[in-house]
Each structure stands twice: as structure tokens, then as C-alpha cells.
């Protein structure tokens, strides 16, 4: 039994909602699926075609998309993830985000693969999807509520405690540039400022309940692959650590490899006494009270935390990712583990992206340290490193656009532009979006983040595997296209190729809905193309090869690149790390004295563009490259604006 639109794996329908006219329409997913796979693949093609360059992120004509790929809602390991897309509020170029979710499977069970939102409601509303019943409901009474309050109120109002949703907090309502969308009470579509986009549409939430089914084309073949892959995931070299501590388990290794952005990236390792204070084994033993995991995942890396004493006593919340440690213990130098739990929850409740919060506050604290900012600039607050009260107050001010928070809420790049005083050197961002990734300690990771189309991020090409240790070298070489320098973090050679591998693997995962943690993103023992191809072929009934997947991902990459070229002035100059990375040697830790070199970076960028068949000088794709990918339309579009690569 295929679904009503003749597809396996997919739910079959795309739901389009125009909030200006309150009109709702459907189109078949089949229109896009063979070419764009689903999730982020379909989202980005729709955005490329329908969001014109003159449309601003907060204009009603901008789109906001959510896409659950063809493996979401099935037994495929880790396939719970949903992609979101829109014009990027921070870079004004291409925007994408991705989150674990209960929302995604539920959306599929309701019969939809994607939701495409456009327009702007006249008053606050939320969207209620209950199988075929679609309703735009009044949300006036929800405006101003935090994420947790919103989720509880909607579940109460609809009379079902198991309804899943995405929503925005006060930050999104106030159109803060670094506002994000939160799934249920604590999983973020973090990057690119989609909370403000949703707020600009007067859309508070999307709630969904689905009672349908997803069917795969070849059940026995699919389940055989599921069994094999679950076994493979359970024997990944990092499986036990991630199962126990989640992504914060990376902390000791990040410290050893200079991967922590301490005091706004001035240092790349924590002082020893501070590392001991925020030890994650102890935090886990002290605060963790339960597990949380998502559909299909054999690992289950999430946790619930409860604080029973101190300033934040009584707080019970879903846990945090390594990013929270990097942002608040790292960038802002806080040594209190309970604060990490608190601030992560506080940002979630207000609907703020933690990377943007710590990016902006980190910039401000460094400016204060250097006398560029004074307390008079900051509403009387002394911006001392590690001051938890100041950080909480600035976070609140960002969400409500109050005083100095109104500037910080713009993100560090825009804030530095507003302030002037040569403070831009301390604004750590890529293409205008606050940076989380440390890019001075691992050349491959740095390249992946710097060329990322959405402006930073490590989920669209940055190889996290560089810091793995004790892995089988033969297996490593075999998995990563023959690259032999995977663990040589200071080597430039081979890194363009390695990034090329991950730019494709990550896009396939983002399209199909698979969590990167289960893949070979962190260890060569994880899932790679061959395993994911088998799941996809068995699920959809469309026999596919690894080379088909790589080609599909290359097409996605070129669509994103073209979106950036049509909407912004980005070019080769924007694929460099922030100046600090090339000017300041690493001051402490195992890599003390090392720094990125411009001439080596130049050569590596040449290799990267050449690999993609993009013009080395401008970074623009060539007609030949695009036509070989059956993207003639994009070549024509770029030619019209003079942005077709020569080569």
C-alpha cells in the first residue's frame, strides 16, 4: 500500500499555508522528491525558486519551511530530524536549521512531508494540524508567553498532552535577529534567526497530531538494514560515551585539542581549575534525573536535569549539548555547571539561539575587557567575564530588545557595526552569523565552517572527526575517500576533499532526517553513504547508488551557493576565518604557538573551489558545473547578475 500519492517512505503531501489570506493548499511531494530527496533538499529548492533577492527576511513574502524527510517516522536509526529553511536573518543569504524532534514523525503520521508558510497573519495565530483538519487559530492569548508556557497552554487548549509542536518565545515575537524556533520545550532549530521570521509572520506555533502510517517499499529488506545499522551504531567507538553523557562527552577531548572558545575565542583551552569545576561526569551524576531520546535512535543521548539547590533550585529541564558548554563555560568563562543548565533553559524558554547569545555577549565582554565598551554603554552593567547575573540580565534584555540588549540581539557582527570603535575585530562571526566553532585548532573543521553556505555551523560540511583518537587508520582512509590526513589537524593537504565528503554526507542526512551523531561525522565506525543508500532504496523503492546520492547533494550545495550569490555579495573573501584566527597564535594549551596561515588557506580554498568546479578567483560556479548537474536554470540566473564563474 503506497500512500495516496503513490510514494513509499514519504507521507506524500506538502502543506502550504498563506497566513495573509488564511488560505491552505496541498501539493504532491512527488513533484520534488525524485530530484531533491526531501527535508532540507526540497526546502532549499522551493526557497531558491520562490524567495526573490529583494525580499527581506521579515517581509511577509519570505517563506518559512519545515521538512521531514523520507526516513522520518520509520525505524531508520536516528531518523527523527526535521529541517527548517528561510532567508537567513543574520547573513541575508541562504538559511537552514535542523532539529531532533517528535514533531517530525508526527507531521509525517498526519500526512505531510513539508509545511511551507508564507504571508503574515493580521493578529497572532497558531497553526493546528490534526490529520486532514487544518486550522489557523487565534494566539492572542499566547503572545508574550515563554516556550514552556506556550506548549502547556496549547496542549491544554486542544485537550491532548501528547501533541507535538514548534513555537517561538518572546525573542521571536520581538523579531530579535538571533531568535530561534523551539521544538516542544527544549530542542532548537537554532541557527539563522528563524524565530524572528516566524514572529514577523505573527505565527506563535505549529501544533500537530497524526494518526496515519508510513509504509516502506520493501519491508523485509528495510528491516534487515535497520537491524544491521542499529548493530553498527551500537558498536561505534564513541557510542557508550555519547549514550551516557550526550554531546557534552566531547569536553575533555575538546580541551586536549584546543577546541574551546574561552573568553570569546582569545584562548582555546580552559584553565585547569575551571575544567575540573565543570567536569561533565560529576554534573551528570549530580543533576541528571532522566533520559530523553528520539524515534529510531539506538543511542538516546538526551537527558533531563534537575537542580535541587543553589540559585537555580527547582529547575527541571531537558539537558544541553556541547555547544552550551562551549558558549557559556567557554566564550563567557562561567565555571558553574548549574548555570549551564539554567542559561540553556533560559535561552530555550525565551526562544534565543545560544550561539548568538554567547556570541554577542562574548564580543561585548571582550570589548569591556579592552576598554572599548564601558558600563555606561551597557545600561550600567559591568561586563565582567563569568558574571552569571550579568549574563542572565543581558539575555533577558536581548529577548525583549531592551536597552543594550537591543544592540546585542542583532548578533555580534551587526552589533559591532552599530558600535564602531574598531570593535569588529572582536566580533567572531562568519558571513554575519555568530560563530560557535573554534576554527584555529583543526584545519578541516575550520574550512568546513568557513565555506558553509549558511554562515558557520558544523552540520553542513565541517568534519568533526578530526579530533577522534585511536581509530583504525586503514578504515579511516577507506571511509573518507582516501584522505590520509584526517587526524592531522594542522595539515592543509586533503582537507578540501574531506570537507567535500562531509558537505555531501551532511546534506544527505539533513534531507533524509538522519542524526549526524550516528554517522561517520565523529568516527569512521559510524554510518556512511553505503548504509544510508540501502535504507533509502529499501524505503522508497527507488534503487539508488552512492554516486546518485553524492550528485544529489552536490546539486543541493550549488542551489545554496546560488541563493547566496543572488541575495548577497558573498564571494571568496567571505570564505576566510575571522582575522583573529590568522593573526594571533594560540596562546595556551597543546597547540600553543600555532596559527592558521593565509597562504596555506589560499591554496586550500583553491583546491576546494577546483573540486567543486567553481571559479577560483570569485568562488562562483561555472556554467559547465551547473549544466552537468542539470541546473541550467541556475546558470542562467547567475549569468543575468554577472555571477557565473569563468574558469
Amino acid at each position: 500500500m503506497k500512500n495516496s500519492n503513490g510514494m513509499y517512505g514519504y507521507a506524500g503531501k506538502i502543506l502550504r499555508v498563506d497566513l495573509s489570506s488564511s488560505s491552505i493548499s496541498l501539493e504532491p511531494t512527488m513533484k520534488y522528491a525524485r530530484e531533491w530527496l526531501g527535508g532540507g533538499g526540497i526546502d532549499q529548492w522551493i526557497l531558491y525558486n520562490e524567495v526573490k533577492p529583494w525580499i527581506t527576511p521579515y517581509a511577509p513574502a519570505n517563506l518559512l519551511t519545515f521538512g521531514a524527510g523520507p526516513l522520518v517516522g520509520t525505524m531508520a536509526p536516528g531518523a527523527s530530524r526535521v529541517s527548517a529553511g528561510s532567508k537567513n536573518a543574520l547573513t541575508l543569504g541562504v538559511g537552514s536549521a535542523n532539529s531532533d524532534s517528535r514533531f517530525g514523525p508526527e507531521l509525517k503520521f498526519a500526512g505531510y512531508d513539508h509545511i511551507i508558510l508564507q504571508g503574515k497573519a493580521r493578529k497572532p495565530v497558531y497553526l493546528w494540524i490534526d490529520d486532514e483538519h487544518i486550522e489557523i487559530r487565534d494566539a492572542t492569548h499566547l503572545w508574550g508567553k515563554t516556550i514552556g508556557e506556550t506548549v502547556d497552554a496549547i496542549r491544554h487548549e486542544l485537550g491532548d498532552p501528547e501533541i507535538h509542536m514548534v513555537s517561538i518565545g518572546p525573542a521571536g515575537e520581538n523579531i530579535v535577529r538571533g531568535a530561534c524556533v523551539i521544538q516542544n520545550k527544549g530542542r532548537a532549530f537554532g541557527r539563522c534567526g528563524f524565530g524572528g521570521v516566524m514572529g514577523s509572520k505573527n505565527l506563535k506555533a505549529i501544533a500537530v497530531r497524526g494518526s496515519g502510517a508510513i509504509e516502506v517499499a520493501d519491508g523485509p529488506r528495510f528491516m534487515k538494514a535497520v537491524d544491521e545499522l542499529r548493530q553498527k551504531v551500537n558498536s561505534m567507538s564513541n557510542a557508550e560515551m555519547v549514550r551516557k553523557l550526550g554531546t557534552p562527552s566531547a569536553l575533555p577531548r575538546k580541551q586536549e585539542t584546543c577546541g574551546i572558545p574561552y573568553k570569546n575565542f582569545q584562548y582555546l583551552a580552559l584553565p585547569d581549575e575551571m575544567l575540573a569545576k565543570i567536569d561533565q561526569e560529576s554534573a551528570h551524576n549530580k543533576y541528571k534525573v532522566g533520559k530523553i531520546s528520539y524515534m529510531g535512535c539506538p543511542i538516546g543521548c538526551g537527558g533531563y536535569y534537575h537542580i535541587d539547590n543553589g540559585h537555580y533550585a527547582g529547575l527541571t529541564t531537558e539537558g544541553y549539548q556541547f555547544e552550551a558548554l562551549a558558549n557559556f563555560a567557554g566564550k563567557l568563562a562561567v565555571d558553574d555547571p548549574s548555570f549551564i543548565i539554567k542559561i540553556n533553559n533560559y535561552c530555550d524558554q525565551l526562544g534565543l539561539d545560544i550561539d548568538n547569545v554567547a556570541g554577542a555577549i562574548g564580543w561585548a565582554m571582550e570589548c569591556y575587557q579592552r576598554g572599548i565598551l564601558t558600563k555606561e554603554d551597557a545600561d550600567g552593567l559591568k561586563l565582567e567575564w563569568g558574571d552569571t547575573g550579568v549574563i542572565l540580565e543581558l539575555t533577558r534584555k536581548m529577548a525583549y530588545r531592551e536597552g543594550f540588549g537591543n544592540i546585542l540581539g542583532e548578533g555580534c557582527a551587526h552589533a559591532a557595526e552599530l558600535l564602531g570603535r574598531e570593535s569588529d575585530y572582536y566580533a567572531m562571526h562568519l558571513k554575519g552569523q555568530d560563530l560557535y566553532e573554534v576554527i584555529r585548532n583543526d584545519v578541516g573543521w575550520a574550512l568546513g565552517a568557513c565555506v558553509s553556505t549558511r554562515g558557520g555551523g558544523h552540520t553542513t560540511g565541517a568534519p568533526g572527526v578530526g579530533i577522534a583518537e585511536g581509530e583504525d587508520l586503514e578504515l579511516t582512509k577507506k571511509v573518507y575517500d582516501g584522505v590520509t590526513t584526517v587526524y592531522d589537524r594542522t595539515a592543509y593537504e586533503g582537507k578540501a576533499k574531506l570537507v567535500g565528503y562531509f558537505e555531501r554526507l551532511h546534506r544527505i542526512c539533513n534531507a533524509l532526517g538522519i542524526c549526524h551523531i550516528l554517522t561517520n561525522s565523529m568516527s569512521p565506525t559510524g554510518l556512511g553513504f553505503p548504509e544510508i543508500v540501502e535504507l533509502y532504496s529499501a524505503a522508497t523503492g527507488w534503487e539508488t547508488t552512492e554516486s546518485d546520492f553524492r550528485r544529489a547533494a552536490t546539486r543541493m550545495l550549488n542551489v545554496e551557493k546560488a541563493f547566496n550569490l543572488l541575495h548577497t555579495n558573498f564571494g571568496r573573501k567571505d570564505d576566510y576565518p575571522p582575522p583573529r584566527s590568522m593573526e594571533e597564535p594560540i596562546p595556551t594549551g597543546s597547540m600553543k604557538g600555532w596559527k592558521l596561515e593565509k597562504k596555506d588557506w589560499d591554496k586550500m580554498l583553491d583546491d576546494y573551489y577546483e573540486m567543486n568546479h567553481w571559479d577560483k578567483e570569485s568562488s562562483f560556479p561555472t556554467r559547465k558545473c551547473l549544466e552537468e548537474l542539470d541546473l541550467k536554470q541556475i546558470a542562467d540566473d547567475l549569468e543575468k547578475v554577472g555571477k557565473l564563474g569563468g574558469m
Binding site: 500500500m1 514523525p105 516502506v216 533520559k291 529510531g296
Partner: protein, 103 residues
């Protein structure tokens, strides 16, 4: 008695068991066609587990995975909860059902 509930100690609420169960019954993935149901506790972090014994509200009654090598809910349960689920399946569920029969 149409359903029996248990505290799901160690469960992370991934609900993979639900769609494994519906696959056993109908060869599709659908929590609504499952004999097992995972519910988020509202009073504290954690989940509870309900077995549907008879076919009610669209849910299909548990047939102890007739024809399978082992119950699929157990096969696909996360390691953190598997022992607990094994105990429920092997002793707690039969005890509750036996108790119900005697009444």
C-alpha cells in the same frame, strides 16, 4: 481490561517500540496501530508504558508478537530500558493479567 500501564524506568521516550509493534501487526509504521504506547509523564521527567490488550480506539491488542523470534518492542528497546521491559513482559504483565482473570 483493555490496557495495562507500567512505570517505564529508564525509558527515553523514543517510541521506536511503537512503530516496531505496528510493523509486526500491519507492516507499516504507525503509533496508532501499536499495542504499546509510551506517554510523557506530566508530573515529572520520565515516561509510562501502556500495553493494549484488546483492539480498542484503533490500537491493536498485543499478541505477544506471534510469529516473531522475540517481541519486537523488546528487540528495539534502548539499552537503558531493555532489562526493565524484559521484566515487564516476562513477569509483571502476566501477573497483572492473571490477577485480572481471577477477579
Amino acid at each position: 481490561m483493555n490496557k495495562v500501564s507500567f512505570e517505564a524506568t529508564g525509558c527515553g521516550g523514543c517510541r521506536t517500540c511503537e512503530i516496531a509493534c505496528s510493523y509486526h501487526h500491519k507492516k507499516v509504521f504507525s503509533p496508532n496501530l501499536s499495542s504499546i504506547e509510551i506517554s510523557d509523564r506530566t508530573d515529572k521527567p520520565g515516561f509510562s508504558l501502556t500495553f493494549h490488550i484488546g483492539d480498542v480506539d484503533g490500537h491493536l491488542g498485543c499478541d505477544r508478537c506471534e510469529g516473531e523470534d522475540e517481541p519486537l518492542c523488546l528487540k528495539y528497546c534502548n539499552i537503558s530500558m531493555r532489562e526493565k521491559l524484559k521484566t515487564i513482559l516476562q513477569s509483571e504483565l502476566p501477573e497483572k493479567l492473571a490477577g485480572e482473570d481471577k477477579r
